[in-house]
């Protein structure tokens, strides 16, 4: 579920972790929380297997992204399925859209 990669960015070598969500996201994931506590590089969350997300799941994502931001960890979401992406779109959470790659400033849609 977890995978480590070395990513070269300029002179510094950053560690990139990736984590595949095991299925529907109906509550916070301890594994990710633990990872977040120890990680120093970037984190990529793979949504391939996540076909449903609950309000609790959304709230956890938002809160986790806040923690990541305060630690300077960049989190990105990959392979978000359309039904979950639609939830993100309707939910209007900037940090979640940011993790989906939407620039924080500038025109958005």
């Amino acid at each position: 579920m977890t995978e480590k990669k070395k990513k070269e960015s300029g002179a510094a070598v950053k560690e990139q972790m990736s984590f595949r969500l095991p299925g529907p996201l109906v509550k916070g994931l301890d594994d990710v929380d633990k990872l977040m506590a120890s990680i120093s590089g970037d984190l990529q969350l793979d949504f391939s297997d996540c076909t449903f997300i609950s309000v609790e799941g959304l709230e956890w994502l938002e809160e986790m992204l806040l923690r990541a931001q305060s630690k300077g960890v960049s989190v990105s979401f990959s392979n978000v399925t359309p039904s979950v992406y639609k939830v993100f779109k309707v939910a209007h959470i900037d940090s979640v859209m940011g993790a989906c790659g939407l620039p924080i400033s500038g025109p958005v849609c």
Binding site: I53, K86, V90
Partner: protein
Amino acid sequence: MTTAVKDNDTSLMERVNHLTRQARLAAAVFSQYSQEDVDRIVKAMTAAAIENVEKLARAACDETRMGLFEDKMLKNFVASEFHYHQIKDKKTVGIIREFPEDNMVEIAEPVGVILALSPVTNPTSTVIFKSLAAAKTRNSIIFSPHLMAADASNLAARVVYEAAIEAGAPKGFIGWVEKSSRLRRETELMMVHPEVDLIFATGGTQMVKAACSSGKPVLGVGSGNTPVYVHKSTNVRQAAMDIIISKTFDNGTECPSEQTLVVDREIADSLIQQFKDYGCHDCSDEEVVKVAETIIDARTGGMNYRMVGQPANFIAEKAGITVAPETKILLCQMKGDLRQHKLAVEKLMPVLSYVVVDSVEDGLNRALDVNYAGGTGHTAGIFSEDEDVIEQFGTFINAGRIIVNSPTSIGGLGGIYNNLNTTLSFGCGTGGGNITTDNVGIKNLLNYKRVPRRKHFTLSFQTTKNIYINPGSIDHLRTIKTKRAFVVTSRSAARRGHLSMVLERLPQDCRVDVFSEVGAEPEWSTIEQALQVMSQSQPDTVIALGGGSVLDAAKVMRLFHDYPDLKLKEIAFNFLDFRHRMAEFPKGVKTQLVAIPTTSGTGSEVTPFAVLKDTKSQRKLSLIDETLLPTVAIIDANLTKSLPRDITSDTAFDALTHALEALVSTVASDYTDGLAFESMRLIFEALPEVLKNPTNVVWRHKLHNASCLAGMAIGNASVGVNHALAHSLGGHFDVPHGRANGVFLISTLQYNASIPHKFMVQSCYPLWVADEKYARAAQFLGLDEDGNLAGKGKGEKPNASNIKQLNLALRRAIYDLSIQCGQPMSIAELGISQENFAAAMPDLVRGAFEDMAVRTNPAVPLFEDLKDLFINAYAPRQRP
């Protein structure tokens, strides 16, 4: 509405943000729920509401001190049981409706976060109703209750919410504003909050108004003032009982309840007596004044809110009048002008005003007075056995629900007395400042995404039924059944001996009239002349003998002879799409039309077209309809043998243009393609031979057939830009039609084979294939690369790499044919000076642009395109 957030609003704003945030997340999550999920949740909510109907009714009565506990319970049942029964099987997720005939489906999209106001009069039932509706449509809902009923409303919200969560609903999809002194302010902030998508406003006029000025979409309701006309035909006992049931329901708090009765004099006494027998009190004139002073707020002219939902005895006591214990309703007769009477307004209490009228007209007018006094668009009622009176009432009264022979309050709720949708929100349409007159419900809480599929028209093929095609086929005239024939022809037909060929062959006992006044361009005045003769002779057969103009004229004569009342204006509308045209032609014709062409060009003998000039306006009118198709066509080449060389060539080039334009038309089909190909081939083969040997009937026969085949092709696929240019040029400079076509051919072939500046809008033309079609024509003609007729079968099959070459070959072949026939290929060759041409340019371009021929061209010819096409056709051409 602008709402500035003040400092002391900060904590309020936090609450508002929290509530809307919860609702927003829930709405987002709800988007993933299936119909089964939603139905399970709604069922659980309904069950919880039914379990609590009594508790919630009690809470509402205790808190508001309004209405009647038992009726509040019934309303809670309506909002849960009845509402559930109505919505449980409705589709609200995914594809919710299919329209197979329109090839379209509707897919539901939730509206999102709803801010719902709930009124003091129905604090719990409204919440139950709206919660179920929101869950069924996968929306989040935040309740802003009336301050005087907030605890009861919020209790109802909590009951259904907890059941919903238990059944798997998203957390926070129902929210509510807690009772506090800042409730109103909190609601105002919510109304303009960016996370609120829709305001569902059922409540006092002020709150609905505030909602409407929030800038958000609003499902509002208007206030009521229900007039009920009691017509003399009604059963008085039933009317009295129904009205009592209705007006006393929840002590009159239901806004669709009866406010003023309009009673026919014939039954007034018996109706009032019936009310009295059932326990109502009919107030004396003095008592009416006292009641009015008590229940009407002198300052506003509206009802005194302290009296709303109070029992009749309480009101009587306050008014200082003595009535029997347990009086049901205080009846107040309004004398004098109803429009100035204090009591002619909404009274949500058991006080019922009435007027007595002397006729249906008077009754309808008084009902209108009440209807337009504060309750427009809401509810009205009628008791009558006279269907005509009921229909008149429905026509004149403006009300979203017009309840017939039943109680208006419970009737308005829907489900109990009728099949109206169950609701506690009564849309009043624009009369009440609302967007809908619906009994508002789940239908109004969805966005409807329409998914229409591409329209494919049924293409068909029609032509003249009987076509006689060999030389000598004019003999067919000997066998036609006719007693009275009307021969339409031109003067030249007589000169060329054609007329006598026809007359000799008609049956001996047939009376024949001949009309030979048709000129080069048929005019409406000529048609009228002919119609006069026809009205005398009453022909059973019209025989058209001549070129295209004679045939066109005869088609119109036959139609107007059969339908003398037809108006030319009404069948000559211009149109964008034949299938949507405004012109309405009659169905079928009676008189048979035998078309005998004497030129090989227009193909009019097999087309449903006729072009004529309106004598008054001097405008060309194009008529298109099946009723213009001749019954019989006789394609006898003997009649073309004497055709002069120039006309032979001009008309053949018209036919060639028909074939080429039908081929690339946006409505071309395999049927018309085949005709177009063969027609072209025959022209390429026969025209040079005919010009060499004008009397050789075999080649004349081939050319005559080519013209007829091309006619069938355009009769079904129509023509294109070349004809538009030719019509405009020909009309302006008096150039014969075929010759005008010829000068543009090479330009339009190149134009249509190039990627269009603008593709034609045509649903049944999904692929632009004009260049391929021309290439296939080149292949069919057996052209070699240089455009020479290499012989059948030697043509190259079009592919991506040779399309351009084949197109060029086709243009070269047309150039060569024109040279061979001496056919002009440029406007300069027609003797039109450069100055005259330049001066006419704006008119020429406009004329071509407005021509209906361009409608089926594969490219939309823009103004500039048309101008270029004219300019490029001026100078003599070089071989392409």
